[in-house]
């Protein structure tokens, strides 16, 4: 009876008792899927990466090194590092605070705050840059006042830092909110009931519980802070040796047809990406089971 129903309604199904696992594909389909994804990865990810390094080293290792120690390149590297050193800790603190607020407290407008954190992801980086031009430019309310007091925001380091902070806001917060929400507040409550102060509870209970997630967020935040192009491009002014970050420096070199030098600097950024990737994979193993934000 059951078998008749099975053939009537599910003619494609193997008969009851067939040995093959009904949720797995045939070997042919599996091989096809794997081949397609490998081909895609090779074509769109590996080949460009190889091309970057090939171009960078096309004139030999000496030329590659020379392009990196050239004063304008060094200045770009220094500026990129400086921006990252300011933006990452800022977003680290903000991310922790926002995640703490969102995960451990109930308040009006919480859903709004959480979606607001995503704004930099949904807004084009160019617009992020333009926001600061509007805010601090000559036509704005505070721009002239600031420059009268000798503070240069646009086309200077502060503007670049602001734009970078803006585009990297979500990384740490997004990573920590689901993690902290899943962990709940009982460990904190336990610490408080045992007499620990709020600060000590944070240092000894909350922070250790999220340290791997935090590190993961910081890593992604850092990669983006160093690699950001659009927003920084709008506010930087492209002054060589002054307000050029590495991505901007690559663009300038490229526009001057100095391909080898452009790719040499680009290869440094690509290396950063690779290191980030390796560390990220290692961290994911620590976080347990792959997807970011997953609880241990």
């Amino acid at each position: 009876m059951v078998d008749i129903a099975r053939t009537l309604f599910f003619p494609g199904l193997p008969a009851a008792g067939a040995s093959r696992d009904c949720t797995s594909e045939t070997p042919g389909v599996r091989a096809g899927l794997i081949a397609a994804s490998l081909l895609f990865l090779a074509l769109f990810l590996l080949a460009p990466l190889a091309a970057v390094f090939a171009q960078a080293l096309s004139a030999g290792f000496g030329a590659w090194a020379a392009a990196l120690v050239e004063p304008d390149a060094l200045s770009a590297i220094r500026l990129t590092l400086l921006v990252a050193v300011i933006a990452v800790p800022l977003n680290c603190v903000f991310g922790l605070a926002a995640a703490w607020a969102a995960a451990k407290h109930e308040f009006r407008g919480k859903a709004f705050l959480i979606s607001l954190i995503d704004l930099p992801f949904s807004v084009s980086p160019v617009i992020a840059g333009l926001i600061y031009v509007l805010l601090f430019g000559a036509g704005s309310a505070i721009g002239p006042w600031l420059s009268a007091h000798g503070v240069q925001v646009l086309f200077a380091v502060p503007g670049i830092v602001l734009a970078t902070v803006f585009v990297t806001v979500p990384f740490v917060a997004r990573e920590l909110i689901p993690l902290m929400q899943a962990q709940g507040t009982t460990e904190e409550e336990a610490a408080l009931s045992l007499g620990a102060s709020g600060w000590r509870t944070f240092l000894r209970v909350t922070l250790p519980n999220v340290k791997w997630g935090l590190l993961y967020g910081v890593l992604l935040c850092n990669a983006r802070a160093m690699g950001e192009f659009g927003a920084v491009s709008v506010v930087s002014g492209h002054i060589r040796g002054m307000t050029n970050t590495m991505p901007l420096h690559v663009e300038i070199l490229y526009n001057e047809y100095n391909f080898q030098a452009a790719f040499a600097v680009a290869s440094l950024l690509a290396l950063l990406a690779l290191v980030t990737l390796v560390l990220k994979t290692a961290l994911e193993a620590r976080l347990g089971g792959g997807a970011p934000g997953r609880v241990r």
């Binding site: 045992l194 620990a196 102060s197």
Partner: protein
């Protein structure tokens, strides 16, 4: 330390979680807060701990107004249902946390903290597991670590929130007995929350039955079981059957038919009796029902009966040897029962005194 709760009320988003509650827990007493979920028992426990702030009223520890104190200053030992052990600390560090979190001036030396923690681990019978991490322990072991951690701060009151809720039945029974022994040895004033009435009856000196943010009854286990103050308590504690009846001229009527039971009452009421408080068989008289099913419960056979056209269901106990096929008619008479005023008949259902009546 005596704990007194005076007119404490608490709202969550304007929904009352606790109406004005008054309760005194004597020093050294082991009290159980029991009730269905949403009855406010956990809220009350968290209010005592200071994890929630009361909307109104005060909570006194001895003569001190604890509602003015922070969680830290209250010095309560709180044990959570899901243990809430610090997962990145060893068992020893967990137990020592409360001592090492003290301000520097009051903090014992590292060696002293470790010694005290080891002592407590011996007390909860977990000596030798100092170096383990919480995920490496079983549920029962984790809960005992949590208890040792709470005891380490020499709490004035020990509060346990469904301490055995996440454990399996066998471990639960063992831990229950063990907690009772521990309490008798250490003498801490202890309040624990449970939704398991059996646990409350077995473990506590006093059972506080709660429902919908109110205390229905606070009394000894015997009192709560034998003389439930309200219909809710009768239904919640132990097994019981209920029948809507009417009392006229001292006689109890069910669906306008006399039951042969007499009561000092007048008007509509709810009649409660327990399965073991019924005389069953020919000549028992009074009430009769159709057998719809039965099951064995330990040493007795519990039979389900359907009464009258309204198909009211009651349960009575029979000796194991007596079999009873579904469909047969069975006569029975409660040997002891209690009447509670029926809600909505002009009398407050849960406030009027109930009457204990044994059939004469």
């Amino acid at each position: 330390m005596e704990v007194r709760i005076e007119a404490v009320a608490k709202d969550f988003d304007r929904h009352p979680a606790l109406h004005e509650i008054d309760l005194a827990i004597a020093s050294g007493e082991l009290a159980a807060l029991v009730g269905p979920s949403g009855s406010g028992k956990t809220t009350l426990l968290r209010l005592i701990a200071g994890l929630e702030t009361p909307g109104r009223g005060r909570i006194l520890f001895g003569e001190e107004d604890a509602s003015r104190l922070s969680v830290q200053a209250r010095r309560v030992g709180f044990v959570f249902q899901h243990y809430a052990l610090f997962r990145h600390m060893t068992v020893l560090e967990n137990v020592g946390f409360g001592l090492s979190a003290r301000p520097r001036a009051l903090r014992p030396a590292r060696a002293e903290i470790d010694r005290r923690a080891r002592e407590l681990l011996e007390l909860v019978q977990l000596g030798g597991l100092e170096k383990r991490y919480p995920p490496q322990l079983s549920g029962g072991q984790r809960q005992r670590v949590a208890l040792a951690r709470a005891l380490a701060i020499e709490p004035r009151v020990l509060l346990l929130d469904e301490p055995f809720g996440a454990l399996d039945a066998q471990v639960r029974r063992d831990l229950r007995r063990w907690l009772r022994e521990l309490h008798d040895r250490t003498g801490h004033t202890t309040v624990f929350v449970t939704h398991d009435q059996e646990e409350a009856l077995e473990l506590a000196d006093r059972v506080v039955v709660m429902s919908q943010g109110r205390i229905e009854q606070a009394a000894t286990p015997d009192e709560v079981y034998d003389r439930p103050a309200t219909a809710f308590v009768h239904g919640f504690i132990g097994e019981s059957s209920r029948l809507p009846v009417r009392v006229e001229g001292g006689e109890v009527f069910l669906d306008d038919r006399p039951t042969g039971l007499r009561a000092d009452w007048e008007g509509p009421a709810e009649l409660f009796f327990r399965p073991h408080q019924a005389l069953v068989g020919d000549g028992a008289g009074g009430l009769a029902g159709m057998v719809t099913g039965g099951r064995r419960i330990a040493g007795v056979r519990r039979v389900e009966l359907e009464l009258g056209a309204a198909h009211r269901r009651v349960e009575v106990d029979l000796p194991l040897a007596q079999s009873c096929a579904p469909g047969t008619l069975l006569a029975f008479r409660p040997t002891a029962f209690r009447l509670y005023p029926l809600a909505g008949e002009g009398r407050p259902a849960d406030r009027a005194p109930a009457r204990q009546l044994a059939h004469g």
